[in-house]
């Protein structure tokens, strides 16, 4: 064999008159399914819009100390600084007089002012809304991702064991799942958080634990159903015949082929979880008063809910933040669903 022959590129294989596409390096690294998923996400306009929004939130969260500097380096940055104690909110543009944070470098260029004003106004109790929204982005991302990842892991473990092993294990795990499903989600989370707050103190943790405790069952059910279908396929049988261990079959062959619908659910849930967390905060079982959290900012508007024509800013800005955050995750989740839906396979990307 000559050197020329060994270095020549192989010709594309022809199947039924079509040339098979040569997979690129990224596709070989990720595998065909994950590559299709990634490609679909970056080519779908909806998911691109969602990811742009999400990137904006991530940037705000990362740049929070620059966008809204804490009043002192020693102060807890998650405590919203308050300009006095008056219950009546102040409109956007009013000068900030007490507990004034240091002026960041961008401030004068953007606003043309030397001193801080309340950019989005103040809520009842003179908590600065702009500061709360900026630092609340961190809280939203932290809570959303932490709760969804943890519930996803619990759901995957319970659903996988249940679906793969079947029999007694399936019976026990499914009855436990049904018991948890019998509780209405928000009401159960509210009750558990209310029980935990006096024991653990006010922080994000009681609400996070409550949301996790009552949030994993759907994932367990969905992954179980998918595993029941996938485990009967020929490639699983082939792996079993070759003597592969259960753990290898489950983690290498079954789970990667069954996990996609659960991932779609999870991506859609992040926005919903942040809304639920905001609902718990609104009802008063979340964080301490003054903690940077969008739900609590809306809760400050409770007493002024009938005068929103005058105090529109106390719900508009935190409400907009919540709306856009939920929308961003929903757009990404919808795009994921489109990509992974077998009926739409081949239509795009």
């Amino acid at each position: 064999m000559t050197a020329e022959a060994t270095t020549a590129k192989p010709r594309p294989v022809q199947v039924g008159g079509y040339a098979l596409r040569e997979p690129g390096r990224l596709e070989r690294f990720l595998g065909p399914e994950w590559y299709r998923l990634l490609r679909g996400l970056v080519t779908n306009p909806l998911s691109v819009a969602g990811m742009v929004l999400l990137s904006g939130f991530v940037l705000i969260a990362l740049a929070a100390p620059v966008l809204a500097p804490p009043i002192s380096p020693r102060a807890d940055p998650y405590n919203i600084p308050r300009d006095g104690f008056s219950p009546e909110p102040k409109p956007p543009g009013v000068e900030w007089k007490r507990n004034v944070p240091p002026v960041p470098f961008w401030y004068k260029t953007v606003t043309g002012k030397d001193h801080w004003v309340h950019l989005f106004g103040t809520a009842s109790g003179q908590f600065d809304i702009y500061y709360g929204i900026v630092w609340g982005t961190r809280t939203a991302l932290r809570v959303g991702i932490l709760v969804v990842l943890t519930t996803l892991v619990i759901g995957l473990v319970v659903g996988s064991l249940s679906g793969y092993y079947g029999g007694f294990i399936d019976d026990v795990l499914q009855r436990i799942t049904e018991i948890f499903m019998a509780f209405p989600f928000l009401l159960a989370a509210l009750t558990l958080a209310a029980v935990l707050v006096p024991r653990m103190g006010r922080s994000i943790w009681p609400a996070v634990i409550a949301l996790i405790t009552f949030g994993w069952m759907t994932y367990a059910r969905v992954i179980r159903g998918d595993i029941l279908s996938v485990k009967e396929r020929d490639f699983v049988m082939a792996a079993r015949v070759l003597g592969a261990k259960d753990s290898r079959i489950l983690l290498r062959h079954v789970l990667p082929n069954a996990v996609f619908s659960t991932m779609v659910l999870a991506s859609l849930d992040i926005g919903a979880i942040v809304l639920s967390f905001a609902a718990l905060s609104f009802l008063g079982v979340g964080t301490d008063i003054g903690y940077a959290d969008w739900g609590q900012l809306i809760a400050f508007a409770r007493a002024y809910i009938l005068n929103l024509d005058q105090y529109w800013y106390i719900v508009l800005f935190p409400g907009l933040a919540l709306l856009l955050f939920g929308l961003a995750w929903n757009l990404v989740g919808d795009a994921l669903r489109d990509i992974l839906d077998p009926k739409l396979r081949g239509v795009r990307g």
């Binding site: 020693r74 600084p81 892991v153 619990i154 024991r199 006010r202 261990k245 753990s247 489950l250």
Partner: protein
């Protein structure tokens, strides 16, 4: 020992080490920067315990060689690890102090707090989930890692990558425990050190500075003159919502500072040694310290009689000095014609625990 068992032990020990790094790593870095009394006392022992528990769980899972067995084994290991993390700052630290300094042996230097139990629940919740999942995956992961060994049985780089891959997750879970369990031990001394640093050097009015910054530097305002440059901090007492910190200066002066935890704020500081010096001097003189609010010492009638008798033997104007402090337990030596050593405990009020003539 089979290579599978060896790898199981090593993998479990790594989990323990990563957890210890997550739980205490940040704490050690912060505390070593502060002039704290024995800042890293606990961590080597506690790390060893976590590594040991991890190694046992990892080895057992490898021996039993069933993926589903990993879950209950690591669940038990997780429970033990959470217990160690939760009890280390309290009972284990008290026991270790007794071991290092037999004069304090048997004392509950840091009694276990119910509030710590609740904080531990948060830490344990996530740790438990992560360890159970890692336990389920161990069998599969170790098979993959074993296939990445070279002819001499050494791991290839990809094998090392697979082995170390879950450790950031364990460190992250450990850091949740750090935020919840260790935070009071860290922020309170840091706040007191900050107040002393600024209080001693700031040329302006500390009250105005406190108003501007939101940090209560004013707490040390009346005490600055008596402070010297070098000092040692002691975490004296932990309560549900507050921590008491003692700062002992090298000129013999000492202050107690109370730090609120939620929200974190330095509340106030006051001279620390009045009960040990003036209160004890009154007792030795046969007087009751009950009238002296700042130097009040709770004691029994038997000790009062005994001390009054000892006071007569020691003579007038004895030299009273603080010898050692662990937590709120303070050992005081009285020297005159004779020598006494008295152990005090607690802060509100200071209680005389025992005295002995040397």
């Amino acid at each position: 020992m089979t290579s599978s068992l060896r790898l199981g032990l090593f993998n479990g020990a790594l989990y323990g080490l990563a957890l210890a790094a997550g739980v205490w790593g940040g704490q050690v870095i912060t505390l070593l920067r502060l002039p704290l009394h024995m800042p890293a006392l606990l961590f080597p022992l506690a790390t060893l315990i976590l590594v040991g528990i991890g190694a046992v769980a990892g080895g057992l899972t490898a021996v039993l060689n069933r993926s589903w067995v990993g879950a209950p084994i690591w669940a038990l290991a997780g429970y033990a690890m959470v217990a160690v993390i939760g009890h280390t700052p309290y009972e284990i630290q008290s026991w270790l102090i007794g071991l290092l300094d037999p004069r304090f042996a048997g004392q509950a230097i840091y009694p276990y707090q119910q509030a710590a139990q609740a904080r531990l629940f948060v830490a344990g919740f996530f740790l438990f989930i992560v360890l159970v999942v890692l336990g389920l995956l161990q069998d599969y992961r170790l098979d993959g890692i074993l296939s990445e060994t070279g002819p001499e049985g050494r791991l290839r780089p990809r094998g090392w990558f697979l082995l170390l891959a879950p450790l950031p997750l364990v460190v992250a879970v450990g850091s949740i425990a750090d935020q919840n369990v260790q935070r009071p031990w860290r922020i309170a001394p840091a706040m007191v050190a900050e107040a002393i640093r600024v209080g001693r050097t700031y040329p302006g009015d500390l009250f105005d500075l406190s108003r501007e910054t939101g940090f209560n530097y004013n707490a040390v305002k009346g005490l600055i003159q008596a402070m010297s440059a070098h000092y040692v901090l002691h975490v004296a007492e932990l309560e549900t919502q507050a921590v008491e910190v003692t700062a002992r200066f090298d000129n013999g002066y000492a202050i107690h500072c109370r730090v609120w935890l939620d929200p974190a704020q330095l509340a106030f500081c006051y001279p620390a040694d009045k009960p040990y010096r003036e209160g004890l001097a009154l007792l030795l003189a046969g007087e009751s310290p009950r009238q002296c609010a700042a130097c009040f010492v709770r004691t029994t009638a038997e000790w009062e009689t005994w001390l009054a008798a000892q006071g007569q033997q020691i003579g007038a104007g004895p030299r009273i000095e603080v010898v050692q402090q662990w937590g709120s337990h303070v050992l005081v030596r009285v020297e005159g014609a004779g020598t006494l050593e008295c152990l005090f405990g607690g802060l509100n009020p200071v209680t005389l625990l025992r005295c002995e003539a040397l």
